[in-house]
Protein backbone atom coordinates (compact mmCIF):
# COMPACT_ATOMS: atom_id res chain seq x y z
CA UNK A 1 0.00 0.00 0.00
CA UNK A 2 1.49 3.34 -1.03
CA UNK A 3 0.69 5.83 1.73
CA UNK A 4 1.48 8.86 -0.47
CA UNK A 5 -1.62 8.14 -2.53
CA UNK A 6 -3.87 8.56 0.49
CA UNK A 7 -5.28 12.03 1.05
CA UNK A 8 -7.28 13.17 4.10
CA UNK A 9 -10.82 13.81 2.84
CA UNK A 10 -12.39 14.17 6.28
CA UNK A 11 -10.62 15.63 9.34
CA UNK A 12 -12.19 16.23 12.74
CA UNK A 13 -10.43 17.85 15.71
CA UNK A 14 -11.72 17.90 19.27
CA UNK A 15 -10.18 18.99 22.59
CA UNK A 16 -10.87 16.78 25.60
CA UNK A 17 -10.15 17.46 29.28
CA UNK A 18 -8.28 14.20 29.82
CA UNK A 19 -4.88 12.55 29.44
CA UNK A 20 -3.42 10.99 26.26
CA UNK A 21 -3.49 7.58 27.98
CA UNK A 22 -7.21 7.79 28.76
CA UNK A 23 -8.09 9.01 25.26
CA UNK A 24 -6.06 6.13 23.81
CA UNK A 25 -7.87 3.64 26.03
CA UNK A 26 -11.28 5.08 25.08
CA UNK A 27 -10.43 4.78 21.37
CA UNK A 28 -9.11 1.22 21.55
CA UNK A 29 -11.24 -0.64 24.10
CA UNK A 30 -14.61 -2.28 23.46
CA UNK A 31 -15.78 -1.53 26.99
CA UNK A 32 -15.46 2.23 26.32
CA UNK A 33 -16.48 2.27 22.65
CA UNK A 34 -19.81 0.52 23.30
CA UNK A 35 -20.76 3.55 25.42
CA UNK A 36 -20.04 6.30 22.86
CA UNK A 37 -20.18 4.43 19.52
CA UNK A 38 -23.84 3.34 19.38
CA UNK A 39 -23.05 -0.01 21.06
CA UNK A 40 -20.25 -0.90 18.61
CA UNK A 41 -17.23 -2.70 20.05
CA UNK A 42 -13.75 -1.65 18.91
CA UNK A 43 -11.23 -4.51 19.11
CA UNK A 44 -7.58 -3.74 18.48
CA UNK A 45 -4.76 -6.26 18.64
CA UNK A 46 -2.16 -4.02 20.30
CA UNK A 47 0.71 -4.27 17.83
CA UNK A 48 1.76 -3.20 14.37
CA UNK A 49 0.07 -5.49 11.83
CA UNK A 50 -2.46 -6.63 14.44
CA UNK A 51 -6.13 -7.04 13.64
CA UNK A 52 -8.63 -4.21 13.99
CA UNK A 53 -12.39 -4.83 14.17
CA UNK A 54 -15.52 -2.91 14.95
CA UNK A 55 -18.28 -5.30 15.98
CA UNK A 56 -21.94 -4.33 15.72
CA UNK A 57 -24.21 -4.81 18.76
CA UNK A 58 -25.49 -8.07 17.18
CA UNK A 59 -21.92 -9.43 17.22
CA UNK A 60 -21.30 -9.19 13.48
CA UNK A 61 -18.04 -7.74 12.22
CA UNK A 62 -19.06 -4.38 10.74
CA UNK A 63 -15.58 -3.01 10.05
CA UNK A 64 -12.41 -5.01 9.72
CA UNK A 65 -8.87 -3.96 9.16
CA UNK A 66 -5.33 -3.99 10.30
CA UNK A 67 -3.16 -1.84 12.56
CA UNK A 68 -0.98 0.21 10.25
CA UNK A 69 0.72 2.61 12.68
CA UNK A 70 0.93 1.85 16.39
CA UNK A 71 2.49 4.39 18.75
CA UNK A 72 0.56 4.50 22.06
CA UNK A 73 -0.61 6.95 23.33
CA UNK A 74 0.19 9.25 20.39
CA UNK A 75 -0.80 7.78 17.06
CA UNK A 76 -2.90 4.94 15.73
CA UNK A 77 -3.62 4.25 12.07
CA UNK A 78 -5.89 1.42 10.99
CA UNK A 79 -7.41 0.25 7.74
CA UNK A 80 -11.12 0.83 8.21
CA UNK A 81 -13.01 -1.31 5.76
CA UNK A 82 -16.77 -1.58 6.07
CA UNK A 83 -17.88 -5.15 5.37
CA UNK A 84 -20.51 -4.47 2.76
CA UNK A 85 -20.21 -6.49 -0.46
CA UNK A 86 -18.12 -4.76 -3.16
CA UNK A 87 -17.59 -1.64 -1.02
CA UNK A 88 -13.81 -1.87 -0.65
CA UNK A 89 -13.45 -3.04 -4.24
CA UNK A 90 -15.25 0.05 -5.53
CA UNK A 91 -14.23 2.74 -3.02
CA UNK A 92 -10.75 1.50 -2.17
CA UNK A 93 -9.25 1.13 1.28
CA UNK A 94 -10.08 3.68 3.99
CA UNK A 95 -7.34 4.65 6.42
CA UNK A 96 -8.29 6.16 9.76
CA UNK A 97 -5.64 7.89 11.88
CA UNK A 98 -6.02 9.18 15.41
CA UNK A 99 -3.42 11.64 16.63
CA UNK A 100 -3.34 12.49 20.30
CA UNK A 101 -1.37 15.52 21.51
CA UNK A 102 -1.15 17.22 24.90
CA UNK A 103 -2.69 20.72 24.77
CA UNK A 104 -2.42 22.38 28.17
CA UNK A 105 -5.07 20.93 30.50
CA UNK A 106 -6.57 19.18 27.51
CA UNK A 107 -5.70 16.68 24.83
CA UNK A 108 -6.12 17.45 21.15
CA UNK A 109 -7.54 14.48 19.27
CA UNK A 110 -7.40 14.68 15.48
CA UNK A 111 -9.14 12.05 13.37
CA UNK A 112 -8.22 11.88 9.69
CA UNK A 113 -10.03 9.67 7.21
CA UNK A 114 -7.83 9.10 4.17
CA UNK A 115 -8.61 7.62 0.79
CA UNK A 116 -6.52 6.78 -2.27
CA UNK A 117 -9.00 8.24 -4.79
CA UNK A 118 -11.51 11.02 -5.21
CA UNK A 119 -14.84 10.28 -3.50
CA UNK A 120 -17.99 12.36 -3.82
CA UNK A 121 -19.26 14.50 -0.96
CA UNK A 122 -22.32 12.21 -0.85
CA UNK A 123 -20.16 9.12 -0.27
CA UNK A 124 -18.14 11.00 2.37
CA UNK A 125 -21.27 12.32 4.09
CA UNK A 126 -21.60 9.08 6.10
CA UNK A 127 -18.30 9.66 7.89
CA UNK A 128 -18.77 13.41 8.07
CA UNK A 129 -22.06 12.83 9.90
CA UNK A 130 -20.82 9.95 12.02
CA UNK A 131 -17.45 11.16 13.31
CA UNK A 132 -18.75 14.30 15.10
CA UNK A 133 -21.36 12.18 16.91
CA UNK A 134 -18.89 9.45 17.88
CA UNK A 135 -16.16 11.81 19.04
CA UNK A 136 -18.61 14.18 20.82
CA UNK A 137 -19.77 11.09 22.74
CA UNK A 138 -16.19 10.09 23.54
CA UNK A 139 -15.46 13.57 24.92
CA UNK A 140 -18.60 13.53 27.09
CA UNK A 141 -17.75 10.05 28.39
CA UNK A 142 -14.25 11.09 29.46
CA UNK A 143 -15.33 14.44 30.94
CA UNK A 144 -18.62 13.52 32.63
CA UNK A 145 -18.39 9.74 33.07
CA UNK A 146 -21.23 9.04 30.69
CA UNK A 147 -21.92 9.44 27.00
CA UNK A 148 -25.27 10.86 25.93
CA UNK A 149 -27.35 8.69 23.61
CA UNK A 150 -27.27 10.49 20.28
CA UNK A 151 -30.08 9.35 18.02
CA UNK A 152 -28.80 9.32 14.45
CA UNK A 153 -30.85 8.89 11.32
CA UNK A 154 -29.44 6.60 8.61
CA UNK A 155 -26.97 8.42 6.31
CA UNK A 156 -29.40 8.55 3.37
CA UNK A 157 -27.20 10.56 0.99
CA UNK A 158 -24.38 8.06 1.40
CA UNK A 159 -26.66 5.02 1.06
CA UNK A 160 -28.18 6.40 -2.13
CA UNK A 161 -24.75 7.21 -3.56
CA UNK A 162 -23.57 3.66 -2.77
CA UNK A 163 -26.65 2.22 -4.44
CA UNK A 164 -25.95 4.33 -7.51
CA UNK A 165 -22.51 2.66 -7.64
CA UNK A 166 -24.17 -0.78 -7.38
CA UNK A 167 -22.78 -1.33 -3.89
CA UNK A 168 -25.28 -3.40 -1.93
CA UNK A 169 -26.20 -1.97 1.46
CA UNK A 170 -28.00 -3.70 4.33
Amino acid sequence: MNLDQFKPLTVYTIYIASTPEKVWEALTSAEFSRKYFSGFAVEVEPKLGGTFNVRAPDGSEHISGEVFEYDPPRKLTVTWNVNWPDLVEKLGTTLVTYEIEPAGEAVRLTMSERHDRHLSDDILSGGRTGWPAILSGLKSLLETGKAPQIKMSPPMKMLEALKAMAIRTP
Binding site: T13, I14, Y15, I16, A17, E101, P102, A103, G104, E105, A106, R108, R128, T129, P132, A133, S136, G137, K139, S140, E143, T144, P148, Q149, I150, K151, M152
Partner: protein
Amino acid sequence: MSKPSYVYVTYIETTPEALWQALTDCDFTERYWFGHRITSDWKQGAPYKLTNNGNPKVEGEVITFDPTQRLAYTWHNRKPEAAGEGTSRVTFDLEPHGKVVKLTVTHDELGEDGKALRDISGGWPMVLSNLKSMLETGHTIEIVPPSCAKDAA
Protein backbone atom coordinates in the same frame (compact mmCIF):
# COMPACT_ATOMS: atom_id res chain seq x y z
CA MET B 1 -14.13 29.13 -8.03
CA SER B 2 -16.37 29.30 -4.97
CA LYS B 3 -14.97 30.82 -1.79
CA PRO B 4 -13.66 28.43 0.87
CA SER B 5 -16.00 27.36 3.64
CA TYR B 6 -15.62 25.47 6.90
CA VAL B 7 -18.12 23.32 8.80
CA TYR B 8 -17.85 21.97 12.36
CA VAL B 9 -20.49 19.81 14.02
CA THR B 10 -20.69 18.98 17.71
CA TYR B 11 -23.33 17.30 19.87
CA ILE B 12 -23.93 18.83 23.29
CA GLU B 13 -26.00 17.41 26.13
CA THR B 14 -28.00 20.55 26.88
CA THR B 15 -31.16 22.36 25.81
CA PRO B 16 -31.47 24.64 22.75
CA GLU B 17 -32.30 27.49 25.19
CA ALA B 18 -29.11 27.05 27.24
CA LEU B 19 -27.00 26.72 24.10
CA TRP B 20 -28.62 29.83 22.61
CA GLN B 21 -27.81 31.79 25.75
CA ALA B 22 -24.22 30.55 25.65
CA LEU B 23 -23.86 31.85 22.08
CA THR B 24 -25.35 35.29 22.71
CA ASP B 25 -24.52 36.25 26.32
CA CYS B 26 -21.13 37.89 26.82
CA ASP B 27 -20.64 36.48 30.34
CA PHE B 28 -20.87 33.00 28.83
CA THR B 29 -18.76 33.65 25.72
CA GLU B 30 -16.04 35.16 27.90
CA ARG B 31 -15.71 31.82 29.70
CA TYR B 32 -15.41 29.39 26.77
CA TRP B 33 -14.27 31.77 23.99
CA PHE B 34 -10.93 32.50 25.63
CA GLY B 35 -11.92 35.87 27.11
CA HIS B 36 -13.93 37.13 24.14
CA ARG B 37 -17.15 38.95 25.07
CA ILE B 38 -19.88 39.19 22.45
CA THR B 39 -22.23 42.18 22.59
CA SER B 40 -25.15 43.21 20.40
CA ASP B 41 -28.77 44.35 20.57
CA TRP B 42 -29.46 41.00 18.90
CA LYS B 43 -31.84 41.76 16.15
CA GLN B 44 -31.53 41.41 12.40
CA GLY B 45 -29.30 44.15 10.97
CA ALA B 46 -27.88 45.18 14.36
CA PRO B 47 -24.11 45.48 14.80
CA TYR B 48 -22.28 43.13 17.14
CA LYS B 49 -18.71 42.92 18.36
CA LEU B 50 -16.34 40.47 19.99
CA THR B 51 -13.90 42.13 22.35
CA ASN B 52 -11.09 40.83 24.50
CA ASN B 53 -10.07 42.99 27.49
CA GLY B 54 -11.97 45.80 25.79
CA ASN B 55 -10.01 45.49 22.54
CA PRO B 56 -12.08 44.90 19.40
CA LYS B 57 -11.30 41.55 17.79
CA VAL B 58 -14.20 40.82 15.45
CA GLU B 59 -17.08 42.99 14.28
CA GLY B 60 -20.05 42.57 12.01
CA GLU B 61 -23.76 42.66 11.56
CA VAL B 62 -26.48 40.23 12.62
CA ILE B 63 -27.90 38.51 9.53
CA THR B 64 -30.32 36.05 11.17
CA PHE B 65 -31.59 36.05 14.74
CA ASP B 66 -34.02 33.18 15.11
CA PRO B 67 -33.91 31.98 18.74
CA THR B 68 -33.27 28.98 19.43
CA GLN B 69 -32.65 27.70 15.92
CA ARG B 70 -30.39 29.88 13.84
CA LEU B 71 -27.95 32.69 14.46
CA ALA B 72 -25.90 34.19 11.65
CA TYR B 73 -23.59 37.19 11.50
CA THR B 74 -20.98 38.69 9.23
CA TRP B 75 -17.40 38.33 10.43
CA HIS B 76 -14.87 41.10 10.02
CA ASN B 77 -11.65 40.22 11.79
CA ARG B 78 -10.16 43.35 13.41
CA LYS B 79 -6.85 41.80 14.46
CA PRO B 80 -3.93 43.64 12.77
CA GLU B 81 -2.59 40.38 11.30
CA ALA B 82 -5.93 39.88 9.52
CA ALA B 83 -5.93 43.25 7.75
CA GLY B 84 -7.31 42.99 4.24
CA GLU B 85 -9.00 39.67 4.97
CA GLY B 86 -12.46 40.89 3.96
CA THR B 87 -15.80 39.96 5.46
CA SER B 88 -16.95 36.37 5.90
CA ARG B 89 -20.07 34.84 7.45
CA VAL B 90 -20.73 32.59 10.45
CA THR B 91 -23.94 30.61 10.91
CA PHE B 92 -24.94 28.57 13.97
CA ASP B 93 -27.70 25.99 13.45
CA LEU B 94 -29.20 24.30 16.52
CA GLU B 95 -31.18 21.08 16.16
CA PRO B 96 -32.55 19.03 19.07
CA HIS B 97 -31.63 15.30 18.81
CA GLY B 98 -33.25 13.55 21.76
CA LYS B 99 -31.44 14.71 24.90
CA VAL B 100 -28.68 16.44 22.97
CA VAL B 101 -28.48 19.40 20.65
CA LYS B 102 -26.65 19.15 17.36
CA LEU B 103 -24.74 22.38 16.75
CA THR B 104 -23.49 23.04 13.23
CA VAL B 105 -21.18 26.00 12.75
CA THR B 106 -20.64 27.05 9.15
CA HIS B 107 -18.02 29.70 8.45
CA ASP B 108 -18.15 30.58 4.76
CA GLU B 109 -17.45 33.35 2.26
CA LEU B 110 -13.81 33.11 3.38
CA GLY B 111 -10.92 34.70 1.48
CA GLU B 112 -9.79 32.84 -1.63
CA ASP B 113 -6.12 32.76 -0.60
CA GLY B 114 -6.99 30.20 2.11
CA LYS B 115 -5.29 32.07 4.98
CA ALA B 116 -8.50 32.84 6.87
CA LEU B 117 -9.64 29.23 6.38
CA ARG B 118 -6.41 27.95 7.98
CA ASP B 119 -6.76 30.37 10.92
CA ILE B 120 -10.40 29.64 11.72
CA SER B 121 -9.94 25.85 11.19
CA GLY B 122 -7.58 25.94 14.15
CA GLY B 123 -9.82 28.19 16.25
CA TRP B 124 -13.32 26.74 16.01
CA PRO B 125 -12.51 23.26 17.43
CA MET B 126 -11.00 24.92 20.53
CA VAL B 127 -13.91 27.31 21.07
CA LEU B 128 -16.62 24.71 20.43
CA SER B 129 -14.91 21.97 22.47
CA ASN B 130 -14.79 24.41 25.36
CA LEU B 131 -18.43 25.42 24.86
CA LYS B 132 -19.43 21.74 25.05
CA SER B 133 -17.36 21.22 28.22
CA MET B 134 -18.84 24.33 29.85
CA LEU B 135 -22.44 23.28 29.19
CA GLU B 136 -21.93 19.62 30.14
CA THR B 137 -19.56 19.89 33.10
CA GLY B 138 -19.82 23.52 34.25
CA HIS B 139 -16.09 23.89 33.67
CA THR B 140 -14.02 25.21 30.81
CA ILE B 141 -10.57 23.89 29.93
CA GLU B 142 -7.23 25.67 29.74
CA ILE B 143 -6.28 24.76 26.17
CA VAL B 144 -2.78 25.34 24.83
CA PRO B 145 -2.79 24.21 21.20
CA PRO B 146 0.24 22.01 20.42
CA SER B 147 1.74 24.39 17.84
CA CYS B 148 1.88 27.18 20.46
CA ALA B 149 3.39 24.76 22.97
CA LYS B 150 6.14 23.99 20.45
CA ASP B 151 6.78 27.71 19.85
CA ALA B 152 7.13 28.30 23.59
CA ALA B 153 9.59 25.43 24.04
